[in-house]
Subunit: 206 residues, 2 copies
Amino acid sequence: MTEQQKDTEQQILKAARKVFIEKGLDGARMQEIADEAGINKALLHYYFRSKYKLFEMIFQEELGKFFPKMVTLMSSGDISLEDKIRAFVSNYISIFISNPFLPSFIIKEVHRDPDNLKSFFVKSGLDLNMIRLVITNLAKQLNMSFEETRHFMINMISLCIFPFAGRPLIEKILFSEDKSEYNKFLEERKTVVADYIISTLKINSK
Amino acid sequence: MTEQQKDTEQQILKAARKVFIEKGLDGARMQEIADEAGINKALLHYYFRSKYKLFEMIFQEELGKFFPKMVTLMSSGDISLEDKIRAFVSNYISIFISNPFLPSFIIKEVHRDPDNLKSFFVKSGLDLNMIRLVITNLAKQLNMSFEETRHFMINMISLCIFPFAGRPLIEKILFSEDKSEYNKFLEERKTVVADYIISTLKINSK
DNA sequence: GTCTATACGGTGATAGAC
DNA sequence: GTCTATCACCGTATAGAC
């Protein structure tokens, strides 16, 4: 592959990423992606046979970013549970601060075609058995049932993701016009959410 | 308006609701709505001039369902805060159990066109000043700042909504194939989330 | 009010020149 | 590898008969 090929391909992927994430599969237009990449529509089809094939690339990529690295984070044994939670929440929120539209994009596309999901999991390197093992181990550590621990994990993830997924609503209802106020709020949540989660554990352990 | 007119109009709205909520504005097809309503495309335009006008009706309606009735719930003074929280969470989750795709629909459409949101708020009867007043009052009661109370409210809402918005993902990763398992999980959350929220308050009040 | 037929623009995809 | 031109189709919207 020549330098130029690689360049154009990357240029297309970058443009497609931007447009697909903002508009979704249904709302995106090949023309807009071409414009964004500074090329013409025909070239898109030359590199990626179809709109859907191009979309698949992007979706696969973004799904990989979306999955929390909980397996690595929650299973390393040399730090305290409290520190694990703080690290998890902080890192996860950081990913969304860098990719603000990732949550809404994933939610949108996952609802558009729920049946095809599992094939994407495999390619994303998501190991379902490993995840369940992590939860089982966490359950022992917390002296909770598997089901309770599952609620616990989903609570933590909900608190990280929803402020991004629902941003347009929340921001217009509860914040001022100044965008930086919401960004500050999101930054705060790295500690707020962790504190929140940890406080519920302290209650339970009493 | 005759009985028949009313009937057809309602039939169209019902069909449009189903299709738009599932597919979104971009993914929905007028033909599919017509089929669902048992009529033809032309009649859709006879009743509602355009696809977008029909969509607006549905979006407006659904946005109204989506807004938590927190103003009424959180401001009535004759029950304890703990009971208010339990009632809020339980009612809010019940709405989503009855309308499982409401969260993903709202998130999708709100990201598609964030700028137009405020005009919909007014028509939904959403009173921004009243909401802020409720939070201010709650802040006093909890001995917290406005900003902390805002986090608190958003936490509570996140925990209610995300399991619906992210259902296809969560279900495939952490649950069995049996759909009823997830429904049971959602039902459980009426108490789990309330307990969770209330437990953090007890910590803070010590 | 409801239908069939059709206009009209847009969109993904391809052919073919360079 | 990249472009222009064009195709074939689909989707919204309208015209006109009943």
